[in-house]
C-alpha cells in the first residue's frame, strides 16, 4: 500500500501542472532556428544567427539608420574622416567605451580586430581583402595611432563602402588582451572566441551549445547602459510548430520563425502580437546560361512575366515576404522599389514565340525540399505552364541542392541571398561581377554560378563602387538595378520580413534589417 502511494505521489509530482515553474521574470527565452551558426568568433561568423548573437556582445565601429540608410552614425568611433588621397581613413575612438573585462576600448583593439580577420583568413576575410589587405601588409595598413584607428586602403573606393562595412558584424571590436590571453598556437584567440565573447556590448556569451542553445548574460555595468533583462536564452528549435507550442505554453517569450500557418493560428489569440521588420534576404530564381533555352534574352524576359508575385506573397507566404524585384533590398542605400514585372502569360507567350519557342520548352528547377520553397516551386510550375514552359521540380536536401548550384549543374535554381554587408556593392558584385568564367575563378559570384557575364554592367559596378558622393552613388545603383532587371538571368521576387511573435506583456526586441543590427537589450516583461 505504501509503495502504491509513493508511486502515485511520484506520478502526480511529475505530471502536476501546478509544479511547473515559469520563465523567471528577468530572463528572456526565444525559440529560433539557429542551426546555421558556424562560429561565434567575429572573425569567422558569417551566417545569420551567429551575427545576431555577436551583435549583442560586441559593438561596431560605426552604425547606420535603416530608415535613412544614407545616414552613417557614430558607435565606438566618435569621429571619422578620409584624407584627400581618398585612401587613408581615420577613426577617433570614444574614450568612455569599456569591454566586459572593464578595460577601455582602444584604437589598438580596433586595429587588432580588423587585422585578425585578414590574418586568420576565414570566411569574412574576403570583405576586407577587396581593399587590398593581405597577411603581409595588414599590420602596416591597419594600425593604431594614439586613440585613432588608421586604415589605408591600396585601392580607392567610395568612402561610404568602407563605412557601411564598418557598421557590420565584421567590425565588431574584440578585447585584444582577452583574446591573446587565450591564444593557442598563434590562433589570435580564435578557438576560445568560438565559445566565449570579449566585446563591449551589453551581454557576454555565457553558453554556446551547437544544436541546443546560446545564452547571453547581461552585464550590469555595460558602458552603454545595462540591458533591461538579466539573461537571454535562445533555443535551437527548427520546427515552427514546436516554436508555437513553446510560445503558447509560456515556455518561450518569443517565437522567431513561425510560418504562415503558425502565424495565423497565433494571431487568433489576442494575447499575442508581432514585431515585423524587413530583412536584407531576398528570394530569387536563377537561370543557368549553359542551358540553350535559358540563354535566349526573350526567354529570360518571358520567365519574369510568368511569376504570380502577389499571389505567392499574399497567398502562399502570408506576409513573411514582400514583393521586391531589384537586387538591392529595402533598407540599404540605393534600393529601388520599382516593380516592372507582373504575372502576364500573354506577354510571356509572345516573347517565347519571338524566341522561336511558341510551343514552350522543358526545363528543371532545383529546390530545397522544405517549406516554403517547395510551395513556391509548385506555384512557379503552375504559372510557367500557362505559357507552355514545362517545369520539372528536383527537390533535394538544402546542402545537396546548393552543392549542385555551386558546381553549375542546374538549369534553374530557386533559393535566397542576403547582402554580405549593408552596402549595395555587396549584391551588385554578387549579381553582376563575373571576371573569370572558368572553374578556377577566385570569385565565384552568383553571376559566375549561372555562367553569366555582362562587361558593360560590370564596369558600372566598379564606377558605383568608386563614387564618393553618397547621393550620386545611390542614383548609380538605382540605374544599375533597372538595367539589370531587364537583361539579367535572375528573377528577384521577394524580400524577407522577419516576424517575431510574443505576448503583449513582453516587448523591446529590436529587429534590424540584418541580424547584425538585431538587439535584445530593451526586452522587458511587464
Amino acid at each position: 500500500m505504501r509503495a502504491r502511494r509513493c508511486l502515485l505521489a511520484l506520478f502526480a509530482f511529475v505530471l502536476a501542472p501546478a509544479a511547473r515553474a515559469g520563465i523567471p521574470h528577468d530572463t528572456v527565452v526565444m525559440a529560433k532556428e539557429i542551426d546555421d551558426i558556424v562560429s561565434l568568433d567575429p572573425a569567422e561568423a558569417y551566417e545569420f544567427s551567429d551575427e545576431e548573437a555577436i551583435a549583442n556582445c560586441y559593438d561596431h565601429l560605426l552604425d547606420y539608420d535603416p530608415a535613412h540608410p544614407e545616414t552613417i552614425r557614430s558607435a565606438l568611433a566618435s569621429r571619422w574622416s578620409v584624407d584627400p588621397d581618398g585612401r587613408t581613413y581615420r577613426f577617433v575612438l570614444r574614450a568612455d567605451a569599456r569591454f566586459a573585462s572593464g578595460r577601455p576600448v582602444t584604437a589598438d583593439d580596433a586595429a587588432f580586430s580588423l587585422q585578425r580577420i585578414v590574418l586568420l583568413d576565414l570566411t569574412p576575410a574576403f570583405v576586407l581583402r577587396q581593399f587590398g589587405f593581405s597577411r603581409d601588409n595588414v599590420g602596416e595598413l591597419i594600425r593604431a595611432e594614439a586613440n585613432t584607428l588608421v586604415i589605408e586602403t591600396t585601392v580607392k573606393v567610395a568612402p561610404s563602402l568602407l563605412y557601411y562595412i564598418l557598421t557590420s558584424s565584421i567590425a565588431s571590436v574584440v578585447d585584444k588582451t582577452a583574446a591573446l590571453a587565450h591564444q593557442e598556437n598563434g590562433d589570435l584567440g580564435h578557438h576560445w572566441l568560438q565559445f566565449h565573447s570579449a566585446g563591449s556590448g551589453p551581454y557576454r556569451l555565457a553558453v554556446w551549445r551547437p544544436g541546443e542553445r546560446y545564452v547571453l548574460d547581461a552585464l550590469p555595468d555595460a558602458w552603454s547602459g545595462a540591458a533591461r533583462n538579466r539573461q537571454v536564452i535562445v533555443l535551437d528549435i527548427p520546427e515552427p510548430a514546436t516554436q508555437r507550442l513553446l510560445l503558447e505554453r509560456g515556455d518561450a517569450d518569443y517565437a522567431r520563425d513561425l510560418d504562415k500557418d503558425q502565424l495565423a493560428a497565433v494571431a487568433r489569440d489576442k494575447d499575442f502580437v508581432f514585431d515585423r521588420a524587413l530583412q536584407s534576404m531576398q528570394t530569387y530564381f536563377a537561370l543557368n546560361q549553359k542551358n540553350p533555352y535559358l540563354r535566349r534574352p526573350q526567354v529570360i524576359e518571358a520567365l519574369k512575366f510568368l511569376v504570380d508575385y502577389d499571389g505567392i506573397a499574399k497567398g502562399l507566404l502570408g506576409g513573411t515576404r514582400v514583393v521586391h524585384q531589384s537586387f538591392v533590398p529595402d533598407g540599404i542605400l540605393g534600393a529601388d522599389d520599382d516593380r516592372p514585372f507582373a504575372f502576364d502569360p500573354a506577354r510571356a507567350k509572345a516573347l517565347l514565340a519571338a524566341a522561336g519557342l511558341a510551343d514552350g520548352f522543358g526545363v528543371t528547377l532545383d529546390v530545397t525540399a522544405a517549406s516554403p520553397w517547395l510551395e513556391i516551386a509548385e506555384a512557379l510550375q503552375a504559372s510557367f505552364a500557362a505559357a507552355g514552359v514545362r517545369l520539372t521540380l528536383l527537390p533535394g536536401d538544402e546542402k545537396a541542392t546548393l552543392t549542385k548550384y555551386r558546381a553549375r549543374r542546374h538549369d534553374i535554381y530557386l533559393g535566397e541571398w542576403g547582402s554580405d554587408y549593408p552596402d549595395p556593392h555587396s549584391n551588385a558584385q554578387a549579381f553582376i561581377t563575373d571576371d573569370d568564367m572558368s572553374d578556377k575563378a577566385a570569385l565565384k559570384t552568383l553571376a559566375w554560378r549561372n555562367s553569366w557575364s555582362d562587361p558593360a554592367l560590370a564596369v558600372r559596378v566598379e564606377e558605383a563602387e568608386r563614387e564618393s558622393d553618397i547621393a550620386r552613388r545611390a542614383a548609380l545603383y538605382r540605374a544599375l538595378e533597372r538595367d539589370h532587371q531587364k537583361i539579367a538571368p535572375f528573377v528577384l521576387m521577394f524580400q524577407d520580413v522577419a516576424i517575431a511573435a510574443h505576448r503583449k506583456s513582453v516587448h523591446g526586441l529590436f529587429i534590424g534589417p540584418g541580424p547584425d543590427h538585431t538587439l535584445y537589450r530593451a526586452i522587458e516583461k511587464e
Binding site: 511547473r20 558556424v38 570566411t123 515556455d251 546542402k399
Partner: protein
C-alpha cells in the same frame, strides 16, 4: 567494427553534398574554401582518408566535429549521458510493467488479460514512435499542460549544477538542487513513458511466450501436484526458468534505445546521441558520424558482454 566503419565511410563519400560547405558556409572565397578542404584532408584519395581515420581511431582520437568545433569524444561525452538517462528510464518502465504484464497474460491465457495485453502490444508494435511522441506532446503538454515541454530541462536551469556524470537527475541530486532534479524528472517523464511503452510491448509479449512455454512443462505440473500456490508456481518456478532468455530480450530492448532513439529525441528536442548523429549526418560532419557509429558499435559489444555475465550469474550451467 571495421566493416561498420568502412561502410559508413563509403556512404559518406557517395552522398552528393560538399562537406566543406558546412564549415565555411556559402560565402567563402575560393582560397578559403581550398584551404579548409585541404585541412579536412578531402584533397587526398579516399583510401588515404580512410587509412588516416583508422590510424587516428587506433590512438583513441575521433577527430574534431566540423559542426560543434569540439573533439568528437567531448561531444559524445556530452550527448551520450542524455541518451543513457532516457534509455535507462524507458527500459525500467518496460521492465517493471512489461514482465508482470507478460506473466499475468500467460497465467490468464486466452482470457481477457491476455487479450488486453495483445491489443496493447499490437498497438505498440504498429504505431510509429514519432507519431505517438507528437500525440503525447500535444495532449499532455499542449492541451492538458500536465507534462513539461521539449528539451531535457527548463532552459534557465541548465548548467546550474556542475556536470559530474552528465545525468541530470544524478548531478542535480549530488548538488542538492531540488529544482534541477524536479525539472529534469518532469522533462524525462513523457519521452520515457513513450519509449517505455515500446519496451513494454516487446518485453511483455516475449515474457508471455516464454512463461507460457514453461507452464506446459512437467515440473510445473509436479509443483502444482505438490500443492504449491499458483503465485509461487508462476513467480518462483516458471519465471525463474525464463530469466536467461528474458535477460537477452531486455538487453536487446535496452541496446536499441541506447543506440539512439532518433525520432523520439527529435520530437522531444532531447539532446542525445541519436540526434547528434542525425544532425551530423545531415551536415555531413563525417568525424562526428564516424565517432557516433564507433560508439554505437562499442555499446552493442559492451551489452553483449554484459548479457553473457548475466547468463553466468543466472544459470550455473553456463559458468
Amino acid at each position: 567494427m571495421f566493416g561498420l566503419l568502412l561502410v559508413t565511410f563509403l556512404i559518406a563519400r557517395v552522398v552528393p553534398v560538399d562537406p566543406v560547405l558546412a564549415v565555411v558556409g556559402d560565402r567563402a572565397s575560393s582560397e578559403t574554401y581550398a584551404r579548409v578542404r585541404a585541412e579536412m584532408g578531402l584533397d587526398r584519395p579516399v583510401a588515404v582518408q580512410f587509412g588516416r581515420y583508422v590510424g587516428m581511431l587506433a590512438t583513441g582520437d575521433l577527430g574534431q566535429s566540423a559542426l560543434t568545433r569540439e573533439p568528437v569524444t567531448s561531444d559524445i561525452a556530452r550527448f551520450f549521458p542524455a541518451t543513457l538517462e532516457l534509455a535507462t528510464a524507458a527500459t525500467l518502465i518496460g521492465l517493471v510493467l512489461g514482465v508482470p504484464a507478460g506473466v499475468i497474460a500467460a497465467a490468464r491465457h486466452n482470457r481477457w488479460p491476455d487479450h488486453a495485453l495483445r491489443v496493447v502490444s499490437l498497438f505498440g508494435y504498429s504505431v510509429p514512435v514519432f507519431w505517438l511522441g507528437l500525440m503525447a506532446l500535444l495532449l499532455f503538454y499542449a492541451d492538458l499542460g500536465w507534462a513539461a515541454g521539449p528539451g531535457r530541462i527548463d532552459p534557465w536551469l541548465d548548467d546550474v549544477v556542475p556536470a559530474r556524470t552528465g545525468l541530470l537527475l544524478i548531478d542535480g541530486a549530488l548538488a542538492g538542487n531540488g529544482a534541477v532534479v524536479a525539472s529534469a524528472l518532469r522533462h524525462l517523464a513523457l519521452p520515457a513513458l513513450v519509449l517505455g511503452y515500446y519496451s513494454l510491448a516487446y518485453i511483455s509479449r516475449m515474457t508471455r511466450s516464454l512463461v507460457l512455454e514453461q507452464l506446459g512443462q512437467e515440473y510445473i505440473a509436479v509443483a502444482r501436484a505438490k500443492g504449491l500456490s499458483e503465485t509461487s508456481v508462476l513467480w518462483r518456478h516458471a519465471l525463474a526458468n525464463v530469466l536467461v532468455p528474458l535477460a537477452t530480450v531486455v538487453t536487446i530492448a535496452y541496446a536499441q534505445l541506447l543506440e539512439g532513439s532518433v525520432l523520439t529525441e527529435t520530437v522531444f528536442a532531447w539532446p542525445g546521441l541519436g540526434r547528434y548523429i542525425t544532425g551530423s549526418l545531415l551536415s555531413l560532419d563525417m568525424n562526428a558520424v564516424m565517432g557516433g557509429t564507433v560508439v554505437v558499435g562499442l555499446v552493442f559489444i559492451a551489452l553483449n558482454l554484459l548479457v553473457e555475465g548475466i547468463y553466468r550469474r543466472l544459470d550455473p550451467r553456463t559458468r
